[in-house]
């Protein structure tokens, strides 16, 4: 019999307490923010330093070493560096990132060796753009070297490669006459 009234009393007391708590929330400021237009400060300012927003490339800094392409587990980065005329080392022909597949795991940014002196920002870095939206699915593939420039560079690089291949072939096909000359030159 006691538990009968105890149940009633418990229910009443706990419901009473629960309702007091929910009513107290009516007098507090809601924490949600009216996102697109009624903001105190634009969202990128509130993001912390290491925020992984959207991959971006500083094309001048990049040395086309393809370490990022190897580091990415799911082949999001597609780039190519080739030898071109009059430039030591590799020049960047094209650099495409498929943002639709990127999982923001930060492995590529850590693999990138090229670093800007004063801003300590690597060539490949994460922007503070947290929306990461595109209108069409083709928007999701970002080409950091524009298509035409990439094509021109590619043609130039392939010509240079053929030219060097022809020179090397000449060097092997007629080695004897050259070597006789070389000893005098070499002394």
């Amino acid at each position: 019999m006691i538990t009968y009234f105890k149940n009633i009393w418990d229910t009443a007391a706990t419901v009473f307490e629960g309702m007091a708590i929910t009513l107290s929330y009516m007098f507090q400021k809601p924490i949600t923010v009216q996102y697109p237009d009624r903001l105190k400060e634009p969202v990128p300012h509130t993001l912390p330093a290491g925020y992984r927003g959207r991959l971006a490339l500083d094309a001048e800094l990049c040395t086309a070493c393809a370490l990022c392409q190897k580091a990415c587990p799911i082949d999001v980065i597609d780039m190519k560096g080739m030898r071109t005329e009059g430039k030591k080392g590799l020049t960047l022909i094209y650099f495409n990132i498929y943002h639709g597949k990127c999982m923001y795991c930060n492995l590529c940014v850590e693999a990138c060796p090229a670093e800007d002196e004063e801003s300590h920002q690597t060539a490949l870095y994460f922007k503070k753009d947290f929306e990461g939206v595109g209108l069409k699915s083709s928007d999701l593939i970002e080409q950091f070297i524009p298509q035409e420039q990439a094509k021109a560079l590619f043609k130039e690089a392939t010509d240079f490669a053929e030219k060097r291949a022809k020179e090397k072939k000449q060097a092997e096909s007629a080695p004897k006459p050259d070597s006789s000359l070389k000893p005098e030159g070499g002394a």
């Binding site: 597609d78 190519k80 094209y94 495409n96 498929y98 639709g100 593939i141 080409q143 094509k151 590619f154």
Partner: protein, 181 residues
């Protein structure tokens, strides 16, 4: 970690008629290797023997053992099962390893000793194709029932489509790559 070599020694003595030898002695996880027929008996002893009392089944994991044959392709040479048991008081553990032959590997099921063994065994059956004799309910757990083949085998060839659904996505990046323009 709570593996120790003397627990393995104690288990080997208590199971003495059964031939059990300890491999990977000096590494962090010594394994008691037994043959496929005595799995049930050894685990029964490990659980019930007052000196051992390993009554908590942590994990059963299966692996497909292969070797590279002369002409370089993968030749399977069998399967390996690994039972990890621990005591429910101080949670120290012992690891029992079993090697199974390559053709229709099978071992006795222990789902009446441990309640959770059935799901571990079903997963190994589903993904590796190891048959567990007189198991209470052995059917595929992850894959649809009409799936052919066992994916976790090293020589598993993935078909291009399953019931008309292509299993590979065309590479969007290739369309934009400069080389093939």
């Amino acid at each position: 970690m709570k593996y120790s070599i003397d627990i393995c020694e104690k288990l080997v003595q208590l199971v003495s008629p059964v031939s059990a030898e300890i491999i990977q002695r000096e590494s962090k996880m010594p394994i008691v290797k037994i043959s496929a027929q005595e799995v049930r008996k050894v685990i029964q002893i490990a659980v019930s023997n007052p000196g051992l009392k390993f009554n908590f089944l942590n994990n059963i994991s299966g692996t497909h053992l292969t070797e590279i044959s002369e002409e370089g392709d993968i030749k399977s040479r069998g399967f390996a099962l690994l039972y990890v048991l621990s005591r429910s008081d101080d949670f120290s553990s012992v690891v029992i390893g079993v090697d199974l032959p390559d053709l229709n590997p099978s071992v006795d099921s222990i789902d009446d000793i441990f309640g959770s063994a059935n799901w571990f065994e079903r997963e190994i059956y589903d993904l590796l194709g190891v048959v567990f004799n007189n198991s209470c309910d052995l059917r595929r757990i992850m894959l649809p029932d009409d799936w052919v083949g066992h994916p976790l085998r090293k020589d598993f060839q993935e078909k291009s489509s399953y019931n008309g659904i292509p299993t590979t996505r065309e590479d969007e990046l290739a369309a934009v790559r400069v080389d093939n323009l």
